[in-house]
Point group: C2
Chain length 223, copies 2
Amino acid sequence: MAKKLAKSANSQKRVLDAAAKIFRDYGYAGTTMRAIADEADLQAGSIYYHYRSKDDLIGAVLDIGINAVIDTVRGAMESLPAESTGVERIETAIRAHLTAIIEIGDYTLATRRVFGQVPEAIRTKNLKLRDTYATMWREILLHAQQRGELRPDANLTLARLFILGALNWTVEWYKPGGRSIEEVAREFTAMVVSGLRDGAPAAAEPAAAPAAWPRARAGRRAL
Amino acid sequence: MAKKLAKSANSQKRVLDAAAKIFRDYGYAGTTMRAIADEADLQAGSIYYHYRSKDDLIGAVLDIGINAVIDTVRGAMESLPAESTGVERIETAIRAHLTAIIEIGDYTLATRRVFGQVPEAIRTKNLKLRDTYATMWREILLHAQQRGELRPDANLTLARLFILGALNWTVEWYKPGGRSIEEVAREFTAMVVSGLRDGAPAAAEPAAAPAAWPRARAGRRAL
DNA sequence: GAAATTTTCTAACTAGTGTTAGGTTTTCGC
DNA sequence: GCGAAAACCTAACACTAGTTAGAAAATTTC
């Protein structure tokens, strides 16, 4: 009971979701096909009807993990008005990235934790997608710097590595129900752009009208 | 040949180093006692003379990974003059943290990559050490804020999570021979304290005399 | 140098791994 | 309702895992 109901959902996605969750918790080698099958509510052998092998499965999970982030961030950037400032673009990218990795947290965490353990072939294929994403950020930061919004001597390569490192780490501590994603994004942008130092304006306040924000809203609760 | 020579080194540490390296590359479940033994140049069964089980081994690796960071940072903080500014203390902590995690990279990476996959009992034990370290950073940031060097409205909890997330991510991309640790630490401190924004002074220059910097130097080059 | 102790090796056991072939059930167009 | 296609299950295969007991080697002690 309730089994028939659960099975109704398209099982390919069920297997994929289960795989992401198990990979996230037990790593690449620690994940067994039987554990995935159990989570997806079918037998181990049946997985092979949907995926050719365990490597095929982890490859799919990895690709989904990054593509979701790429698509979300790209979408958010494209829906931004053309006259947006560089800092606005940075904050939008940060918020979009956070939204993506938290909403598909199983995949992101699986990606983060498993990537280093996966066979070489799968890793290199996935690395191309990662490069694509890195380039997006390179352009976002460079754009802001060329507009004169960032220090000319700021090392954008290091900045990008720091930002993405910190952002990706959020999946390890972020718990839904606590801080809102918008609040985290805002605070993070403030730190990256203005720093923690006293005296600097806390919020980013560029020339453009702040009414055009895609999703942000004023008055978030603390904690 | 050359075997006798290698064996001369105390084998307990040899096993431990090998374990850190293999755990780092293959994760918790992916690491086999035979692979560790191979790396340490002995037989799988012989490991059990030094460690009671695989879990015992990973526990030791995890503890070493964090204790090394804690000791290095604590040592650096204690050797700082009493009149150090809050920002000086932050930069020192950042540099010490970076130095530690890069110098014992195998252990740090193993810790980072394996922690989420390890049995519950081992994880909780290790978590206490992690809490100790978190508290150290809480105090460093709070100290700077109470001295008036950081914005009063800065969320120190988020700041700490961001900083440690970004710092811990460096082991994934830092390659010896490239940038120096000091350069990375300086640039990172500048971003955290002053932000990337143009107009803000790139270097931290609080009320105190800037001559007291431990190692930092003016005129940082770009890239 | 013999005895005692420490350290390592050998060979095996059990349990669990990814994967597969062939049979069963379910779904669906007609 | 029938037959074909899709989805799933069962039972097994070859292999590798952590671990162990006991023998062998290396080292230390006297």
